[in-house]
Amino acid sequence: MSILDWFNKNKLKKTDQASRLDIPGDLWMKCPSCNDTLYLKDLEQNKKVCHCNYHFRISPEERIAMHFDNGSFEEIEPQIEAIDFLKFKDTQSYEIRLKKAKEKTKHADAILIGTAKLNHLPVNIGVMDFSFMGGSMGSVVGEKITRIIENAIDNKFPLIIFTSSGGARMQEGIMSLMQMAKTSAALQKLADVHVPYISVLCDPTTGGTSASFAMLGDINIAEPGALISFAGPRVIEQTIRQKLPKGFQRSEFLLEKGMLDMVVKRQNMKDTLSSLVKTLNPHYERVAK
């Protein structure tokens, strides 16, 4: 036995020990903010908010279950799918990226839209999914947002969109840029019929998404600590060659700068939303009659 073998043997032993000590990933979660290890069941009961107020990123299903009446969500247009019309390829082709994202999230693209009830009040909702290619907006996301806006124009129920998106989907080139104009244009039509739109900005909302429908709510609400920006912090630091102050471009900062109406904790979101839509929507009474 050479000295090298002896080293290798020890290395093997070490990894063995480590794997035995490994905490099962499905029972515990580490908070990226305070570094505490949290028992997943407790965390879920607390709507995936750490005791330090860090709001974990959550799936659209979780969000819908938390904020809307049980079983009231009815999905619209689940069958629209993206196509790789530019035959775009970076380190991977867009086609493969799409396939992987679909397998991972079990969704067709980065948003779910539909109707739901909020403390018995009917509403139109859109919920973005950051885990699908960074929640990026391509033709499908743009089209679905436009259709849920059009749905609201038809049924006159308020519109609530939860955003979580890195911006435009580069793999669709100029067409993804045009989705910014398309969604914003539809919101102008919604404004014409006096139906309220509440934008709930979740971590992160940046680039083409923040520079279109996300910032255009009659009421803009953010979850605590969400990154909300046009240009990301890394890009700005490269441009100005300075470190940005702590908390720059976070929800609380945007509230102070006048870009948001309020920052609302996940635990209070449902009641805040239902109170607002009830107060704002001039159409509820008429529809009820």
Binding site: I83, M175, M178, A185, G208, A211, S212, M215, Q249, K257
Partner: protein
Amino acid sequence: MKPLEFEKPLDDLYTKIDELKQLSQESNIDLSTDITAIEKRAEKMKEDIYSSLTPAQIIQIARHPNRPNTLSLAQLLCEEFTELKGDRCFRDDPSIVGGVGKLGPHRVMIIGHQKGADTKEKIKRNFGMPHPEGYRKGLRLMKMADKFDMPIITFIDTPGAYPGKEAEERGQAEAIARNLKEMIGINVPILTVVIGEGGSGGALGIAVANRILMLEYAVYSVISPEGCASILFRDASRAEYAAEKLKMTANDIVELGIADKILKEPLGGAHNEWGAIATSIKNALLEELDDLLKLSKEEIKNQRYNKFRSFGKFKEPKPA
């Protein structure tokens, strides 16, 4: 002016022609046949170079410091152009300029990005990268145009909206988003000409138009090829490849159904000859205005809305 990278062989030929001309003058030898031959070769070479430009080369032309710019075009196109300034909220942003004038028989509002020609002016104009107040000034002028029933013409030439600290603090995202929404509600025709660089949301923020025209060597993209390369490839040197993949040349943008028309540039690019391109822009704008002014206000708005509503490529099963 330094020649563009791919124009160097051509530039060398021109230098040679100049040298020969000087030589023939100084030493009194007749070299005219040689000179004409080389001149012909140079002309042929120019045609060859410009008929097979790569997207990366086209981007170089689009970014040429001598490209026609908004203020010069406004002067060349309009009688009595008067610049107007300020967003009435914070300050005047020199990266977006605007003003009123007469284009042929029409009173018009002109708004556009302004990059600046020399170093001092470039710094003043922040290289054509607007802050939120630029977009707010643009919207103020558009609403004024709507009020006084003047068609709006916007010229696009920006690397993008400025990614800086103050721009974020004052709501860059909100300012662009607001323009995208409110431009849909404007009752007068809006015409956009992409004259140089159409850089992402910073370009789109004043480009929600009834008609989108592009100069032959202008580009329009969701992100700069450099930005795309550093994000997707994590390697800025792949910019040339990204430029191809992003499909950002005038031909691509028309093919994708976003732009309506390409305005041909003189051989060698618009930066060599502003007069010709100004005339062709003016004629194109007058033609489009003739068409659009036949429509009612409602039809003008609907046409613009339907144009943008139709953008997007996806698959959807046909309803049974």
